[in-house]
């Protein structure tokens, strides 16, 4: 599962990455987690509010640190 966290390096972006890592580890889900920090790359997803989260090419979240339960839902849904 490819997960991209969109953000210019703010504290919320770092917190989002850390939380996704934690949840993925706890759930035993293998993820390929990438940071996207360049403005043009971020805006290519049409995300105005960061952090944004993209899973397998689809924007699933924009603005603020996502909740742990939300991240769990993403990972479980993708595991299918």
């Amino acid at each position: 599962m490819d997960i991209k966290v969109l953000g210019t390096g703010c504290a919320n972006c770092r917190a989002t990455i850390a939380l996704i890592e934690q949840v993925a580890q706890a759930k035993g889900v293998a993820v390929n987690l990438q940071k996207v920090e360049e403005l043009r790359a971020i805006m290519s997803y049409g995300v105005m509010s960061t952090p944004g989260v993209v899973i397998d090419g689809k924007v699933v979240h924009a603005g603020g640190v996502p909740g742990r339960d939300k991240i769990e839902q993403w990972l479980v849904a993708k595991q299918g």
């Binding site: 805006m43 049409g46 105005m48």
Partner: protein
């Protein structure tokens, strides 16, 4: 991936404005109350309202996005490009650089001076107010030292 945004300097922006382009100022209203572009055709659309209101912007007219130093307006430019706008450019340097070049502004000159200290040229030397019109000492900052060319950029 989006293409690189088109960036224009204040000189080109002034020319484009005179030729019919619409300037879109994405700064917040309190910033604009302090210091504003003095051009005939300008639309205020702060970043806090941008996503909700950007559909108001025409697609059949040149748009130049402006802000304080050109960062927020670059983001807005890319967002419009994402939405399929093709006639959109970002003014690099924002109102800080615009004011430093002596282009028309309304409002508190000291705001521009304070901004200049953190602007792209960092610590440029804005200077004087003549008859209520703000201007800046030519040759005392890195931008003013550049030759002005028609449509050129510094």
């Amino acid at each position: 991936m989006l293409n690189e945004a088109k960036e224009v300097c204040p000189t080109t922006t002034l020319r484009m404005s005179r030729e019919g382009a619409l300037l879109v100022d994405v700064r917040e209203r309190d910033e604009i109350d302090n210091l504003a572009f003095d051009v005939p055709d300008l639309l205020v659309m702060p970043m806090s309202e941008f996503e909700r209101r950007c559909a108001e912007l025409p697609r059949d007219r040149d748009l130049v996005m402006v802000c304080r130093v050109g960062e927020r307006s670059l983001k807005a430019t890319y967002f419009l490009m994402y939405l399929g706008y093709t006639r959109v450019a970002n003014m690099e340097g924002g109102i800080t650089k615009w004011a430093r070049k002596g282009f028309p502004i309304k409002g508190n000159v000291s705001t521009a001076i304070a901004s200049a200290a953190t602007g792209c040229c960092g610590g440029a030397t804005p200077a004087k107010s003549i008859g209520g019109k703000s201007t800046f000492a030519a040759g005392e900052n890195c931008c003013a030292a550049q030759p002005k060319r028609a449509g050129g950029c510094c």
